[in-house]
Each structure stands twice: as structure tokens, then as C-alpha cells.
């Protein structure tokens, strides 16, 4: 991955406290797994930025390497990869997702 792409990914991840890289967007998810994570974020009242990786082939390829994570969706909170659909679902069931999303605002 070239340095420009790495910088662009980093800037995107840091552009908002909570960033969801997904297939489609928050109004029109184009994959069941993306839709599920989207639903959980909304259910927990999270403010987040959505990034449609289907609209950006470089980002889609680069992010898999950057995150060491082969699939989408990918949820980032405070610059850290939290996980995909399975992990976010588990965290929601245990109540940890709410805590994570609510943590430190300043």
C-alpha cells in the first residue's frame, strides 16, 4: 500500500470518533452484515460517520491490509478497530458496545 493511501485511511478513521466502513451507506446498506451493525449503532444512539467502501476501490483494498481484517463492515472507535458484524453483535449482547460508544467525549 502506498503512503498516500495509508495517510488517507488514517485521516478517514480519525475524522470522527465512530466510523463505520460499510457496503452502501447509512440510508441504504447493501449487505446484511453492514445493515446489522448499522442497526446496532442506531439502536445505541451512536453518532457516527458512514463510509461506503463500494464507492472507493482503493480504500476497500487498502483498509483490509491496514486493519488486518479481510471483510466488511469494519467499525472503528477512537481510531481503534473494534471488529466486524460478529464482534459488534457480541459486544452489544454483553452491553459493552453501549459503554464503548458512550466513553470519553472529550
Amino acid at each position: 500500500m502506498d503512503e498516500a493511501l495509508r495517510e488517507r485511511i488514517k485521516a478517514t478513521i480519525e475524522s470522527h470518533r465512530v466510523v463505520l466502513f460499510m457496503k452502501g451507506n447509512k440510508n441504504f446498506p447493501q449487505c446484511g452484515f453492514s445493515a446489522q451493525v448499522l442497526g446496532l449503532l442506531k439502536q445505541n444512539g451512536a453518532e457516527f460517520r458512514d463510509v461506503n467502501i463500494l464507492a472507493d476501490a482503493d480504500l476497500r483494498t487498502g483498509l483490509k491490509e491496514y486493519s488486518n481484517w479481510p471483510t466488511f463492515p469494519q467499525l472503528y472507535v477512537d481510531g481503534q478497530l473494534i471488529g466486524g458484524c460478529d464482534i459488534v453483535t457480541s459486544l452489544n449482547e454483553s452491553g459493552e458496545l453501549k459503554t464503548l460508544l458512550a466513553a470519553k467525549t472529550g
Binding site: T71, C85, D86, S90
Partner: protein, 91 residues
């Protein structure tokens, strides 16, 4: 597409002690669900556990395998859940 036996072989090669349950969700050999219990997950965060599994699947992940619904447990965590003694029922 990838044969279930090949998926199991890849996982067993990385997680020798694994208790493994693998389900072909669609019958098309590209959407799988897996539950893996292994001591290799001890002391690792959930995301690190899943990264280990994806690493074991290597190039198959995201090409031959379109979807891989994954649950990972340390032997200790799994013992708790299967006993139901953590106070919440598995869903």
C-alpha cells in the same frame, strides 16, 4: 467455494487443540458459520482472536469464502457459557 473439509484442515493446522463446529449456512460452500474453542485464544482480545482465525484461513477469506460468521472462545470462557453460570443465557 471451498470444501468444508479444507476449511477444517486449515483451522486444525493452526488451532491443534480446537473444538470446532463448522456449518455451511447456504449449502453453497462459501457462507460458513464457525464456533472455535481453543487455548490459542487465551489472553487475547476478541478482535485478536478473530484476526488469528482469519490469518489461518489466509487467501481463502474474502475470495473462496464470502461470509464467515465466527464465534471464538477460550476453553475457560466456553466452559462458563456451556454451564450457563455467567448469569446470561447464550442466544
Amino acid at each position: 467455494m471451498i470444501e468444508p473439509a479444507e476449511v477444517e484442515r486449515l483451522l486444525k493446522a493452526r488451532f491443534a487443540d480446537a473444538e470446532l463446529e463448522l456449518i455451511d449456512l447456504t449449502g453453497t460452500q462459501d457462507h460458513y458459520q464457525a464456533r472455535i474453542v481453543s487455548s490459542a485464544f487465551n489472553g487475547k482480545s476478541l478482535i485478536e482472536q478473530h484476526q488469528l482465525v482469519y490469518g489461518a484461513l489466509g487467501a481463502a477469506m474474502g475470495s473462496a469464502i464470502h461470509a464467515f460468521a465466527l464465534k471464538t472462545y477460550t476453553p475457560e470462557a466456553w466452559a462458563k457459557i456451556s454451564r450457563g453460570s455467567d448469569g446470561r443465557s447464550p442466544t
